[in-house]
Symmetry: C2
Subunit: 233 residues, 2 copies
């Protein structure tokens, strides 16, 4: 049985080596800053995780997840995202609130509980932030996405997700958020000069330019994030 702390290390490693930029390994310092602990602490802990066959690691080398570690970390992500979905859909929390609560709920271990929750929620594919939910085997399908900042002038796009690990951003959104309607909204790059209004999951939000890297979009017409020629036609 993994401890609360061990699970957080594995979750952070999944975040850094699977979800983010598709690197497959990461250094001690990077992991330390992600977890908000000192590098010395990570050094110790990584040795422990290696003994448990959860990570690959050699002194002064890079850290990567073993298959066992990847699945264990993915299960934490699965639990996190399913609880977020529950809080959002059933208890009417905002997306700004769900992340923090799910940080605790994700450490409840029962497999039966989480599979029942999945069923209760009717097997959702994405969490409230638009991120894919890993299945019961720890598998996940990550769709291609581009950020709002990559959208060209005049291009119409549809918001499909926001980064769920930026509390700063999410709280900002919650504060100025205003519900307008139940489907997502198409927006225009022309509005982006300082503050801009976009829609996601029925919530009308105003974001400043510095947050445009936190918002994922696809083409409003073909729903693709790459290989889209709609604009040039």
């Amino acid at each position: 049985m993994l401890s609360f702390t061990e699970e957080n290390y594995l979750k952070a490693l999944v975040q850094l080596t699977v979800f983010e930029e598709s690197y497959t390994e990461v250094g001690v310092n990077k992991l330390a800053s992600t977890l908000e602990v000192k590098p010395a602490t990570v050094s110790d802990m990584v040795r422990k995780l290696k003994e448990k066959l959860l990570v690959n690691y050699e002194k002064y080398g890079k850290i990567s997840l073993t298959e066992k570690g990847r699945v264990a970390g993915m299960m934490v992500v699965r639990r996190h995202r399913l609880w977020e979905t529950f809080l959002y859909k059933k208890l009417d929390f905002t997306w700004a609130e769900v992340h923090e609560l799910a940080e605790d709920l994700e450490h409840i271990h029962s497999k039966k509980l989480i599979d029942r929750l999945d069923q209760f929620l009717e097997f959702p594919e994405f969490d409230p932030h638009g991120d894919a939910i890993p299945n019961a085997d720890g598998e996940i399908i990550i769709p291609f996405r581009k950020t709002l900042s990559e959208v060209g002038k005049g291009e119409k796009c549809k918001v499909v997700a926001v980064k769920d690990n930026s509390t700063d951003f999410l709280q900002h959104v919650d504060k100025i958020g205003l519900k307008i309607r139940d489907d997502v909204t198409v927006i225009d790059r022309d509005d982006f000069d300082s503050l801009t209004t976009i829609g996601f999951n029925g919530v009308q939000i105003v974001v400043s330019l510095k947050f445009t890297d936190n918002i994922f979009v696809v083409c409003a017409q073909c729903l693709k994030a790459k290989d889209c020629n709609c604009h040039s036609l």
Copy 2:
């Protein structure tokens, strides 16, 4: 913010000094055996709880909860029983299963979460075992109850609750349980010789005599646990 462990001490104290036999204080040994730790450990911890003004305590004396401690402990019980109700009603767990899962869930602190859950469940008065759920202020109305073993020969009674802290009993019940109908069933003391069949929350169960202290009942006619004269009329 109280730790997982501190909360368990307070919950055990509520159990021992509020729910059970209405004693108002308890010794170090009793608390230690309830929590399955050594008396030495309790001695230390109780000093810490006293510093935090959660218990009244003098060296070699008895332990009792302060008002602050009572409310804190009651909130743990509230969370426990609301999660049990959620698991039973929404995720179709059996009452044998819910207790263990709620042992973890009860330590999620958010007040907002638990109040929303209460609302989602439509403010239930009793948990799946028939125990009253404390309100958001830590208040609880405990109805009079007698156990099955106190029922006289020929007396008709209605089952209203079972002890939720006897995993042994609950697992026994789950194994041989059989759903028959949706309301509770009236039973007769004559059947109690070795094995007997009673009904609770629509579940038909068979219990051996040694478990009759774990089952709470009221008179089937007047629904009272004491001051009932129905039988003598």
